[in-house]
């Protein structure tokens, strides 16, 4: 599948001397990694070549408090307000469609593309954000790029790329109740390591992957970069087509039938070989949680924190987290629970969390922040009354954005505080200076909010 997409987008094939010139079908922009790219274009007197293949939204530094988004209070972080204004100016000048701060279509860039139906099988998708791998859930080749490359795509709609290697990640069997797509990808990263995918495009395969719905597949592909991979992909199937049918920017009518035919030919041919392969058994995956300072430091929620007395970097990570080797991760105290992000900020994630929070209160002293991934997700959740579930439980319900995943907008975790987060990175200081992040599924996060301690969600699911 990777090879088919790659070859269909080679404007000029690679040679030993030069990388391939690869054509880009969809270029997504946000406010943080693009201002310098537009400056580069201006410095060279260049224009955006294909504004019609480019879409911008704002998400990373945007406020989540309603009065700062829709008026009544200024945006609290002044530098964020400047970035927002800069993106508006740049998109207006270049003729690029922008979902601005008050747009009903705004949201996290990796949630907006799929929900519009813009992310489609067989496309090449790039964005100045490493979690662009999310779009691979549709059988697209999608990867994060730097700001200079953003300028390259703006100016030429192409990138210079060496062909990466391929890596099959086969997950057989079936996930057990209470075990989610997030647990699956955390288990995969725990297995292959945070650099295990470097130089490779992962293709997730096998019965447990096939059984996932599109939102779950996006959760899996989202964290491909956390295994160091260039991209992650899942072959399109009826689940994919059903999700895309009648989305506003998906092909319609005769074009839909044509697209379907092309998409059905995309999956990897039987017997095709990969440069590397790994196999996992979904039946043996437990709810997973991170205990250290990178996403490879994960364990099943019932396990004890491992020890490596001869590894100073490992011990530095445990010291940062305030954890002791040999102690169970279960029942560790929690200060903050964050539910949201491009990993787990979609409607099904909010439903999962609400399932455990309905009729419950968050434990005393725990802050619960729920941030939908897009304004569309927010409206859909409110139509089901999920907002009331979170608010009644004592949580905060906000406007969409990256929020506490990256802490650029002022939504941060305090120094030394423990945050169970449905996001993707537990690096030191990721959610705020000194913050201690434990990555987990929306179910585990919600269960831990109720108990105020790290909790196996199956205890509250009754089974």
């Amino acid at each position: 599948m990777f090879q088919k997409i790659w070859e269909r987008h080679e404007v000029v094939p690679e040679t030993p001397e030069t990388p391939a010139v690869l054509y880009i079908d969809l270029h997504l922009l946000h406010e943080v990694t693009t201002p310098q790219a537009f400056t580069m274009l201006r410095e060279q007197g260049l224009r955006t070549r294909r504004p019609d293949l480019t879409l911008a939204t704002m998400d990373h530094s945007t406020p989540t408090r309603t009065e700062q988004v829709f008026g009544g209070a200024p945006i609290a972080v002044e530098s964020a307000a400047l970035q927002i204004a800069e993106l508006e100016k740049n998109c207006a000048q270049a003729g690029i469609e922008l979902f601005n701060l008050r747009s009903a279509s705004r949201g996290i860039v990796h949630i907006v593309g799929p929900e519009l139906g813009l992310t489609q099988p067989g496309k090449t998708v790039v964005c100045g954000d490493s979690h662009t791998s999310t779009h691979g859930a549709f059988g697209a080749l999608a990867f994060g790029i730097g700001t200079t490359e953003v300028a390259h795509v703006l100016a030429t709609q192409c990138l210079l790329q060496r062909r990466p290697h391929t890596y099959a990640v086969e997950v057989g069997g079936a996930l057990s109740p209470g075990v989610t797509a997030k647990d699956m990808i955390l288990a995969i990263i725990g297995r292959i390591g945070v650099a295990g995918g470097t130089g490779h495009v992962l293709e997730y395969r096998g019965s447990a992957v096939r059984a996932l719905d599109m939102e779950e597949r996006m959760t899996v592909c989202n964290m491909s970069i956390e295994a160091g991979a260039r991209a992650g992909m899942i072959a399109p199937d009826e689940t994919t087509f059903e999700y895309l049918a009648n989305r506003p920017r998906a092909p319609q009518g005769a074009a839909w039938e044509q697209a379907l035919e092309a998409w059905r030919a995309l999956p990897t041919d039987p017997g095709a070989s990969f440069d590397r392969e790994v196999r996992l058994d979904a039946d043996s995956i437990e709810p997973m949680i991170s205990y250290g300072t990178h996403p490879g430091m994960v364990l099943p929620i019932g396990a004890c924190i491992p020890g490596r007395s001869d590894d100073p970097v490992f011990n530095k990570a445990l010291a940062y987290m305030g954890f002791t080797a040999g102690a169970p991760i279960r029942d560790q105290p929690v200060n903050v629970v964050f539910i949201g992000s491009c990993t787990n900020g979609r409607l099904s994630d909010l439903r999962a969390a609400a399932q455990l929070l309905r009729g419950q209160k968050v434990a005393r002293g725990v802050q619960l922040l729920v941030v939908p991934g897009s304004q569309q997700v927010k409206r859909a959740a409110e139509a089901e009354g999920l907002d009331r579930v979170f608010i009644d439980a004592g949580g905060d319900w906000r406007e969409s954005g990256c929020s506490m995943c990256i802490g650029m907008n002022g939504d941060t975790v305090g120094p030394g505080q423990y945050s169970v987060s449905t996001s993707n990175r537990n690096f030191e200081g990721r959610q705020g200076p000194g913050a201690r992040t434990l990555l987990a599924s929306p179910l585990t996060a919600a269960a831990s909010a109720v108990r105020g301690r790290i909790t196996d969600p199956r205890e509250l699911l009754g089974g």
Partner: protein, 191 residues
């Protein structure tokens, strides 16, 4: 970008694996629309106490580390986000090369586009450099070799096109734009 042929400098060692871009430059410093001036935020949370004073035990804060242009780090340097602010911050601080046993893909791409050399050496070679910080190295991009003061050498590889661009001061965007006829043909063939 000016051509790069040789870098001669002492090294600073950060003997940590998986140094992610959130450590290289924390996200709160990305709320900028400029490329310049990020060096003062490089490794901010490792370099400074919460009151803004320097942490005395951090390698970059040592007197011997001042003016060093070569950073040697544990494997999987630059993992995490795609922020080009990471190489911008390293360059603005004064680094011109990073040496590690493994360097994350996006960071490596971003570094090459800005004239920061991402050099991958064998695990054992990096271990000897990490164990001996402050060593003066000569990095020669023309011969793809690093020479230590005792004359011993390590060979390295840089992707051929990126190396050509660095050696000759060629802008990759200029090369891409020269492909315009092929791009136009590609687009019309698909339409």
């Amino acid at each position: 970008m000016p051509p790069i042929r040789q870098i001669r400098s002492r090294t600073v060692a950060l003997p940590f694996t998986n140094i992610d871009t959130d450590q290289i430059i924390p996200a709160r410093f990305l709320r900028t629309t400029a490329r310049a001036g990020l060096g003062r935020h490089l490794f901010s949370d490792w370099r400074y106490q919460s009151d803004g004073t320097a942490k005395p035990d951090f390698p970059l804060n040592q007197a011997t580390a001042q003016g060093c242009q070569i950073l040697v780090a544990g494997r999987n340097f630059g993992c995490g986000s795609s922020r080009e602010h990471a190489p911008w911050a390293l360059l603005d601080y004064g680094f011109r090369a990073v040496i590690s046993a493994e360097i994350a893909d996006i960071f490596s791409n971003n570094a090459l586009k800005n004239g920061l050399l991402p050099i991958v050496l064998a695990v054992g070679e990096v271990a000897t450099l990490l164990a001996d910080p402050g060593l003066e190295l000569l990095i020669d991009l023309e011969t793809n070799r690093i020479t230590r003061p005792d004359g011993s050498q390590f060979a390295f590889q840089i992707e051929r096109f990126a190396r050509y661009c660095l050696l000759n001061g060629v802008d990759e965007l200029g090369f891409l734009r020269s492909q315009e006829p092929a791009i136009a043909r590609f687009e019309s063939a698909r339409a």
